[in-house]
Symmetry: C2
Subunit: 202 residues, 2 copies
């Protein structure tokens, strides 16, 4: 067995700030990652996701309806985010998450919460349009399906809130929500949102 | 001609507060209504509507996207109200109107802006359901249409924002908007709104 790496208190502190995980979880993750901060983040994220998966099936009917209006009032967002209890709904951490999500919608203008919310006919039409493009048709038939799949995944990252990158970070909005399910300890679900741009086409 | 009624300054002031109309317009309306405040309100409203009608055709693409969240975050509203210029959009009077409308939507939960926005199939289904009711079928056939029409008008006052009574006042939201078109001097249009109730059926 490799010699135990000495973990500095400030590294644990930094990891806690980055992940919101508890002190002992952070220390253990750093030991397992031989003191590598990014490795420990990955470990904690995987564990958080495992814990979050267990919670994801739980009923979430409490939460917050919140809004974000861009200064000047030309863009506005209304969002509903659910958690399991009114107690959690009132916490600063949950409310900050809801604010962050509303600002994300205002800034990046997603259309759907996630892939499941894309109406069937729209998905079919999108696939057909991608497949019909010259750049795809010029490729061998055997790999066209694969190319379109890649393009669809890219499209999901534009139109689905949960698949979008969160701000300029290297994690998705789904990662953020999963992390919060893990740190808050309740199932959290972005239920719906709308975004109005002043005078935009409807 | 009847003797000119003496109009008190405080009556003019009250009329101005109730209608937002100018001093001379209020004084003249009170004289014509023989000092009767309610009569003068009606006169000014009619005139405001005449002026508003002229403006109602004008393009309105500026305005505000605004929100109202009930304390506790269980009900929220996002609304877009258009006017003609950014200058008016920034005025306190316009912004107060937008806030009032958002609060109205939160409180009275209309579904549509106006009758035109009700989808054809829904209107047809509503009419058929009203006509099929025992209370209507028990009446002579000749007057059933008339009864259903009255019931539809009552329904419009529930589901259409512009047809709803504004707060507990004896005027509709449409009257309020018309009055603002008259006092602000620009076309104003409630373009769209959404209302989220926490955990409600979608």
């Amino acid at each position: 067995m490799a010699e135990q790496v000495q973990i500095k208190a400030e590294t644990v502190k930094e990891l806690r700030e980055r992940t919101g995980a508890g002190f002992m979880d952070c220390k253990r993750a750093l030991e397992e990652a031989n003191g590598d901060l990014d490795g420990a983040v990955t470990l904690l994220r995987e564990r958080g996701q495992a814990a979050a998966m267990k919670r994801a099936g739980r009923d979430a009917r409490e939460g917050q309806v919140a809004s974000y209006i861009h200064p000047g009032g030309r863009v506005g967002v209304l969002i509903e985010v659910n958690c399991e209890t009114d107690f959690v709904a009132r916490t600063e951490e949950f409310q900050k998450l809801v604010r962050d999500l509303a600002m994300q919608v205002a800034g990046l203008a997603p259309v759907y919460v996630d892939v499941d919310q894309i109406p069937g006919p729209e998905l079919v039409a999108k696939k057909a349009a991608l497949l019909a493009a010259d750049a795809v048709q010029s490729k061998p038939e055997a790999i066209r399906e694969k190319i379109v799949e890649g393009q669809l995944n890219k499209w999901y990252k534009e139109v689905c809130l949960l698949e979008q990158p969160f701000r300029d970070e290297d994690r998705s909005v789904r990662d953020l929500v999963t992390e919060k399910i893990s740190t808050i300890g309740e199932n959290i679900r972005v239920r719906r949102f709308v975004r109005f741009g002043l005078g935009e086409e409807m």
